[in-house]
């Protein structure tokens, strides 16, 4: 039985959901747990078609709570496990991921954002930013990659497994319905052939030997008796997170050094912004482009530099200021005017961005 669905490199034209399934295979994910919700369903569809051929497993659960907690069970048993969800499913997913944060369990969740609040639309939005970066009853101890292209969906799904298993924080790949359903060209590859080391999973439970005889038992809890006990544990987590942040924070930018305005966006909206800024710059307009790839942690240093240099941010997003809120927290005290361009649950075109930039810049 072949264990690799991708040998060498391969140019393909496929939907984002298909890309995620292939990327998880390429990252040597061993088991997927999932529950149907649009627009992520085809991740499961492609995974279940490939799984038996490449010795991988799948379990369809009763809901996203179960999908999240069975994923954590798979991780505890020493497997690279993952799940995928969207919208109201992402809401339920926050409970298991808060346990992953509390117990430092590596886990990968792919989110294909849909409209909100509530059931809303099954189509598209960027309205799961607040929840995916800061959800659950905790402190946002997770990593969130916001992808923009199918190539990135492939690259960052693979990377998410390494980030999760290296730093032991839950890691999200934040896509959306457009990326999920759209077809696009990309190059798929075997990461190891490109020199990308794939970190192996280690069992937390059921290690060799008899507990109490050959080794101490592995026992994990998420309940603490006193305030100070919890406080101390969390200080260690915050320290680890702060140390990790500059290592994992990523961004993409151009033209921020000589601009009077920088368009800031993430995910699929950044494609429109990129195109608009390129065209405007070619026409001589002093406008820059900045896109955080990690929404948590944000590339704070580079954001502040871009803010201080340009003095004006135009924040474009398919939500009512969810990215904007994160930016404002990161930029507190910086001298920068924040200009909103919000279209919650609706796509944004490059023409709209260009028109808005022109109207702002006069």
């Amino acid at each position: 039985m072949a264990d690799k669905p991708i040998q060498g490199e391969k140019r393909v034209f496929m939907t984002g959901n298909e890309v995620v399934a292939y990327a998880a295979m390429a990252a040597k994910a061993e088991i997927m747990y999932g529950y149907p919700i649009t627009p992520q369903n085809e991740i499961m569809h492609y995974w279940t078609r490939m799984a038996p051929k490449y010795n991988r497993e799948f379990l369809q659960t009763e809901d996203e709570l179960s999908a999240g907690f069975t994923t954590l069970g798979g991780v505890l048993a020493g497997r690279k496990a993952f799940t995928a969800t969207a919208g109201p499913g992402n809401t339920l997913m926050q409970e298991p991921m808060s346990m992953a944060e509390a117990m430092r369990l590596p886990s990968v969740v792919v989110v294909q954002q849909r409209g909100g609040p509530s059931t809303a639309t099954v189509i598209y939005s960027q309205q799961e930013v607040t929840m995916t970066t800061l959800g659950g009853n905790g402190e946002g101890l997770r990593v969130v990659y916001s992808t923009s292209t199918h190539q990135e969906l492939f690259d960052y799904t693979i990377k998410a497994f390494n980030t999760a298993w290296k730093y032991r924080f839950p890691t999200f790949v934040l896509g959306d319905g457009y990326q999920a359903k759209m077809r696009e060209s990309l190059t798929m590859y075997d990461p190891e052939e490109r020199g990308i080391e794939l970190l192996p999973a280690q069992p937390y439970m059921g290690k060799p030997g008899t507990p109490g005889v050959d080794r101490p038992p592995s026992q994990y809890r998420n309940t603490y008796n006193v305030e100070e006990e919890l406080y101390e544990v969390l200080q260690g987590y915050f320290e680890d997170y702060a140390k990790m942040a500059p290592e994992v924070a990523e961004y993409e930018s151009f033209g921020v050094d000589d601009s009077d305005l920088v368009v800031v966006s993430h995910g699929v909206v950044a494609r429109a912004c990129k195109e608009a800024v390129k065209e405007l710059r070619e026409a001589g307009v002093k406008v820059g482009y900045f896109r955080p790839i990690t929404l948590r942690p944000l590339p704070e240093k580079q954001l502040r530099e871009a803010a201080e240099k340009s003095g004006r941010f135009l924040v474009a997003e398919s939500a009512q200021g969810q990215l904007d809120r994160l930016l404002k927290e990161a930029l507190f005290g910086a001298k920068v005017e924040m200009i909103p361009m919000y279209k919650p649950g609706v796509g944004i075109t490059s023409e709209e961005v260009a028109a808005r930039v022109k109207s702002v810049m006069g």
Binding site: E30, E57, S66, F69, G73, A77, G209, P217, R221
Partner: protein, 252 residues
């Protein structure tokens, strides 16, 4: 020096005495489970998941790898482990609130999928850890903090018949029984058979244990014993409900 009864070999001695209230039934159920683990020789393969509620206090109870999960979520965590590594013996340990209320969808679906795990559910007719609220298993007329005038079945329904429900939705090969801390030898036998069913790959195995909570029942020793032996058994019938093999003799 007085002679102490032997503790199961699989118990973690450095965490004893345990943290449960005096008169609590958890220690007895966990003793029966410990003995079953010893007799089956599965201490190296068993993985133990405990819920939130009083069962969480068992997170360091055994010399067995243990995960404390969220309220109601022990069944999916243990299911996930078992699916990922079928060589493990997955034990999900929870209370009646965790299994029949907040986690009932997980119990129903794990049973319907015939997951090869063992669920042990401790029924003490109320929520112990949170201070004695009404549970799905509260007896008709029983006073709790959220049914201070006694449970009215007209308004809040009748107690959940958990094992009967699980038996109804599992396929042949599943093992379902209801034991009681009032008959520990029988309870140990049920738990052992439940674990054997998992070891043999038979299917889902489920044991409900009738248990005691003198703290929230506000009962003395005699009243406590009377409630678990006489009152609870009027509604919750003790015995095997579904067995893959020959039936166990009564009181065995």
């Amino acid at each position: 020096m007085s002679v102490q009864p032997a503790m199961p070999k699989s118990w973690r001695l450095d965490t004893k005495p345990h943290k449960f209230c005096p008169g609590c039934g958890h220690g007895l159920v966990l003793k029966a489970l410990g003995q079953a683990i010893d007799e089956l020789g599965i201490q190296d393969r068993a993985v133990f998941g405990c819920d939130i509620g009083c069962s969480l206090l068992s997170w360091d109870f055994f010399n067995v790898d243990t995960i404390q999960t969220h309220h109601g979520r022990t069944t999916p965590v243990v299911t996930g482990m078992k699916r990922a590594n079928p060589n493990l013996i997955g034990i999900a340990y929870m209370g009646d609130g965790g299994g029949y209320a907040i986690g009932s969808q997980h119990l129903v679906n794990a049973a319907a999928r015939n997951e090869r795990i063992t669920v042990i559910l401790v029924n003490n007719t109320q929520y112990g850890m949170t201070g004695g609220q009404m549970a799905p298993t509260t007896m008709p007329g029983q006073k709790t903090e959220t049914s201070p005038y006694g449970r009215d079945p007209e308004k809040t329904g009748y107690p959940t018949q958990g094992p009967e429900m699980v038996a109804a939705i599992t396929k042949e090969g599943a093992y379902v029984a209801r034991g009681t801390v009032a008959n520990l030898r029988q309870l140990k036998g049920f738990i052992k058979k439940a674990l054997e069913n998992q070891i043999n790959g038979g299917g889902f195995s489920f044991v409900e244990a009738l248990s005691t909570c003198p703290t929230n029942w506000r009962t003395n020793a005699e009243e406590t014993w009377n409630f678990v032996e006489k009152e609870m058994t009027k509604y919750f019938k003790v015995g095997e409900i579904k067995v893959p093999g020959p039936r166990q003799e009564e009181g065995n």
